[in-house]
């Protein structure tokens, strides 16, 4: 009997202990508190653009044409047609032009001189050609100094800026600025046609130009211009209705540009690729699709890295894919996706991407997919990121060789 009672007690103790342990193990230490939804990514970055991405702007405004200062500590860009710049590490915005000025492009000539391509707004339906202005950091007064009128394209080099100017469709001329945005060299030999875009080779000795030949409707000519000798030549011309989109780029492996049928849109959802990346050797010849890029790829814009070894590319793997940032290594024909986002719209304008001076990151402009319903956020408008086009710095790593 004693055995039975003792055994039953021990058994009951074991069962009670097990129940207590089980209950204690499964119960929460505190009462569960409902968690309110997080506010939008103010000060943080949407993970859709990849790890390490950093927001360089916030709030409303149609932003474009990012440009890093040579030292890499400031970035300038256009917002709704005016120009601002800010330190890459803080939000202290500095406005360079007023709202009654239409800025198309901006480039740093040096760490304290910003060059701006733009014009006063048209009045009375009369179209006004763009002019090049210079403005210097550190001056209290907001003042633009005119450098040249009827300027059609600008591009930075390591010591200054190169620009094309000329009023008519039949010929253009080039000039270089050095030291405070002043014209240092004016090339007397004209270029036949209208220079629509230009950029400089990595060694600063040559320039590649996208030219609309006299009498043509399309920017179909690709020219090379020797900046030491002041002489240029046509390298290739596209057939039919093909046109060059944006700015051609000079890499160590030849000249690259985006081209396609005139009138197409890089955002069209057709079954055929609309714009492709082409390559032409420096010595000239027929353009060929860029090696390493898939044949279905729809290109929007390209930019060569500061060392001339890589191309940053904005585009889509095929017409139905989302827009993303890629990097092409022309030497080994390696084409790598830097972002794999599905829900951010990366802006596809020809000037809407820029390499940092060190070549370790690229600035792009993106926003979240637009909603057809009102969006409610718990932040002030000027701190919102993905609701508006904003600048992001996306790390792309160094040159792998």
């Amino acid at each position: 009997m004693l055995f039975r009672v003792g055994s039953a007690t021990r058994l009951a103790f074991v069962v009670l202990s097990a129940t207590a342990v089980f209950t204690a193990g499964c119960a929460h230490a505190d009462e569960e508190v409902p968690i309110e939804p997080l506010v939008p990514a103010a000060g943080r970055v949407d993970p859709g653009l990849g790890p390490g991405t950093r927001a360089l702007s916030s709030g409303p405004g149609y932003k474009g044409s990012p440009s890093w200062s040579p030292g890499g500590d400031r970035i300038a860009f256009t917002v709704d047609g005016y120009v601002v710049d800010k330190p890459t590490s803080s939000g202290d915005l500095r406005r360079w032009t007023t709202t009654d000025f239409i800025a198309e492009d901006t480039e740093w000539e040096s760490d304290d001189t910003l060059m701006i391509l733009g014009a006063a707004p048209p009045s009375g339906g009369k179209e006004i050609s763009s002019s090049l202005y210079r403005t210097r950091a550190g001056e209290d007064k907001l003042e633009l100094e005119s450098v040249e009128k009827e300027v059609s394209a600008i591009g930075p080099d390591r010591e200054g800026l190169i620009f094309a100017f000329g009023g008519g469709p039949h010929e253009s001329r080039l000039a270089l600025t050095r030291g405070g945005g002043k014209i240092n060299r004016l090339y007397t030999r004209p270029i036949r046609g209208h220079v629509a875009a230009l950029s400089v080779s990595p060694d600063d000795e040559e320039a590649v130009l996208a030219v609309r030949p006299p009498g043509d409707r399309e920017t179909s000519g690709l020219h090379e211009f020797d900046l030491r000798k002041g002489k240029g030549r046509e390298i290739t011309r596209l057939d039919g209705n093909q046109e060059i989109l944006g700015t051609p780029q000079w890499t160590e492996q030849g000249l690259y540009f985006v081209a396609g049928m005139r009138g197409g849109s890089v955002d069209s959802d057709g079954s055929e690729p609309l714009y492709e990346i082409y390559r032409v050797p420096e010595e000239g010849g027929a353009p060929e699709p860029a090696p390493g890029v898939g044949e279905d790829f729809v290109a929007a814009s390209i930019r060569v890295s500061p060392d001339g070894k890589r191309l940053a590319v904005i585009g889509r793997l095929d017409p139905k894919s989302p827009t993303n940032l890629y990097v092409l290594d022309p030497l080994v024909e390696d084409f790598t996706a830097v972002t794999t986002n599905e829900d951010m719209e990366i802006k596809t304008g020809p000037d809407d991407l820029a390499w940092s001076p060190g070549g370790k990151s690229v600035a792009v402009i993106a926003r979240g997919t637009l909603s057809t319903e009102p969006e409610v956020r718990a932040d002030p408008a000027d701190r919102l990121l993905r609701d508006f086009y904003n600048l992001y710095e996306i790390p792309v790593g160094g040159t792998p060789r």
């Binding site: 055995f3 055994s7 021990r10 058994l11 103790f13 074991v14 202990s17 097990a18 207590a20 342990v21 204690a24 193990g25 929460h28 230490a29 505190d30 508190v33 968690i35 309110e36 939804p37 997080l38 506010v39 103010a42 709030g59 409303p60 405004g61 149609y62 474009g64 256009t78 917002v79 709704d80 047609g81 005016y82 709202t99 009654d100 000025f101 239409i102 800025a103 198309e104 707004p121 849109s265 890089v266 955002d267 596809t348 304008g349 637009l370 909603s371 057809t372 319903e373 009102p374 969006e375 409610v376 956020r377 718990a378 932040d379 002030p380 408008a381 701190r383 919102l384 609701d387 508006f388």
Partner: protein
């Protein structure tokens, strides 16, 4: 036989006590992170004292025309009565070159603890003129209207809601 049962029970009890101790320790270690999961706050957003409730259906029915109205509820989620709660509405455009932001203000004189006050704004949501200084873009689209609603008290309590209306 008794010894065998005794030792088996003892071993089982020791196992369960040890396992229970580990489970208790694990619970103690994870408890603080649950408490730290608070929502991020905007600057000036002082916490849970004030809240603004908006009717999504009413927001969706707003049109880019004059004489629009919007009802919202201001909630005092704190334990003390609030007085002189200022509720402001700023109507602006996504296009930052347009400087015609409109400001509206209502005041809730007293808001008891746990109470709610309804506020109505009647405002102009007329489409602004097309921007002069907007640069040419591949896909030029109409600017969206932005409503910024803010409730503040003299004591520094505040909350904000930003509404972005589709074009």
């Amino acid at each position: 036989m008794r010894d065998v049962v005794f030792w088996l029970s003892g071993a089982a009890l020791a196992f369960l006590v040890t396992a229970g101790a580990f489970l208790l320790l694990a619970n103690l270690a994870t408890a603080p992170s649950e408490k730290s999961l608070n929502p991020d706050r905007a600057p000036g957003d002082s916490g849970h004292t004030l809240d603004l409730q908006l009717d999504r259906e009413r927001l969706a029915s707003l049109e880019p025309l004059p004489d629009q109205s919007l009802d919202l509820a201001v909630e005092n989620e704190g334990g003390e009565q609030l007085s002189h709660v200022n509720v402001t509405l700023i109507v602006s455009s996504e296009n930052t070159t347009l400087s015609d932001s409109r400001y509206y203000r209502q005041t809730v004189e007293t808001l008891p603890a746990g109470g709610t006050a309804n506020v109505r704004f009647e405002f102009d949501l007329g489409a602004p003129e097309q921007p002069v200084a907007r640069p040419p873009a591949p896909t030029l689209e109409p600017s969206r209207e932005i409503l910024e609603l803010r409730a503040t008290t003299p004591e520094g309590n505040s909350t904000i809601r930003t509404v972005i209306l589709p074009p």
